[in-house]
Symmetry: C2
Subunit: 232 residues, 2 copies
DNA sequence: GAACACAAAATTGTATACAATACAAGTTTC
DNA sequence: GAAACTTGTATTGTATACAATTTTGTGTTC
């Protein structure tokens, strides 16, 4: 049954679960920027009507992971270079402050969780699963925002981190790991020590470093078929 | 005909136009926090099917102007005190930087537009239309963000300004004008002179001032009927 | 009057049918 | 061969019907 293949629960897919699945696929680069997201195709994949798919697509559109053009349909967003710079600028403005707050609030459980994220990211890289590593790398940033306990700003950061995965798909220049290993380790150390100023500075330079790794040339990547990308 | 009363155009209302109309009504305090937004009722008011209304409501939900609970419907959001503080904190983080950028970029046309906003706001206050004044006051902030030419951050600010109107409806303590007259004038002067540091400082203190005007007690306001509020 | 049970009505969630628009393929004209 | 036109197909936008859930109203019991 198509449902149990794509959504391993006994319940029908909801718009929320579909949006989450698509978001994860985009984040892990299983769906490339520019990929057309047809309503009928997704409805068939998830075993629901177009109504539910449309709601999911609208949700994704609001966080700018996809573009919906009236009468023309939905596709995975392809941020322009300008948007790419804007996203990283916004992160450079928000995340250092968030790291500062997180350093003042982090519990040992928080630190342990962040360390597990780093370990999982490296495991994914060694398993030749860069998409998974990228997702976990982004999640690391989202977790710091959660620890900072400012939900409004954490929501913005989550959006920016998700969009970053699109930008990385299009503009990333380096061959190495996406977020360098030592940057995340150093951040966790600063959080563990409650060193707010250090955490803030480290986060700022980490993001400036990421921003500097954007390439000025656009790239194209072969897009796997939609069904292929979503069958996990 | 119901359509031409509420939407003075010959075309049927779209989900976008409905979302905009509702957003304006919320912003001007014609619809109060907590007001139930029934799909059938809105569908009748706007002369469209529930499908279009649902799309509009989803859009408003994504910017947190309304809350949608599964199986229970949509209502205008009532931000908690915590959310209120978060929203103003986020504004204090984003808007000073935006004012700084705007000061470096403002054209004479931009300045003239901002001055018109201030004049219109005062006219609205003298016409005993505080809702309109509030909307224009918020728009002033959105315009500065637009001048700063960073669409990603401007988008966040727009969301925060809209949510601020809900917060003001619930928590505002002062009887006087919502944004004090001289604060906006001083900002425009700093922008006109290209004084980035002054613009940044003025914006920060303006927002800190707004934040300090939040009351700790919640208030209730009589909610006009939905049709009444939307008939403009 | 309060609490409970049940039925009816209202509302929300979803599927499906139909209308509107865009796209692709084939044909005609220059 | 390129451009314009026509036709058929695919896709998106919307209304409507039906299913599922919640709310309201009514009656009964204590």
């Amino acid at each position: 049954m198509s449902r149990s293949t794509v959504t391993p629960q006994s319940q029908p897919a909801t718009s929320d679960s579909i949006a989450r699945a698509l978001s994860l696929a985009i984040h892990e680069h299983r769906i490339a920027p520019g990929t057309k997201l047809g309503e009928d195709e997704l409805a068939e994949i998830y075993g629901v009507s177009r109504t539910v798919v449309r709601a999911a697509l609208q949700g994704l559109s609001h966080v700018k992971l996809i573009d919906i053009r009236r009468n023309k349909g939905a596709s995975v967003a392809s941020p322009s270079l300008t948007e790419a710079h804007e996203v990283f600028e916004a992160r450079e403005l928000l995340e250092p402050r968030t790291a500062r707050s997180a350093a003042a609030r982090a519990t040992p459980e928080d630190i342990a969780l962040l360390e597990r994220h780093i370990a999982d990211e490296h495991a994914a890289l060694e398993a030749a699963d860069p998409g998974r590593a990228l997702y976990l790398s982004g999640l690391f940033h989202n977790e710091i925002a959660r620890i900072a306990d400012q939900a409004t700003i954490a929501g913005f950061i989550e959006t920016l981190v998700a969009r970053s995965s699109l930008i990385i798909a299009l503009y990333w220049r380096r061959e190495s790991a996406l977020c360098e290993k030592h940057a995340h380790h150093a951040l966790v150390r600063a959080l563990a020590e409650g060193d707010a100023t250090q955490a803030e500075d480290l986060m700022r330079s980490h993001l400036v470093d990421l921003h500097s790794a954007l390439d000025l040339r656009e790239r194209n990547a072969r897009a796997p078929s939609l069904k292929e990308a979503l069958s996990q």
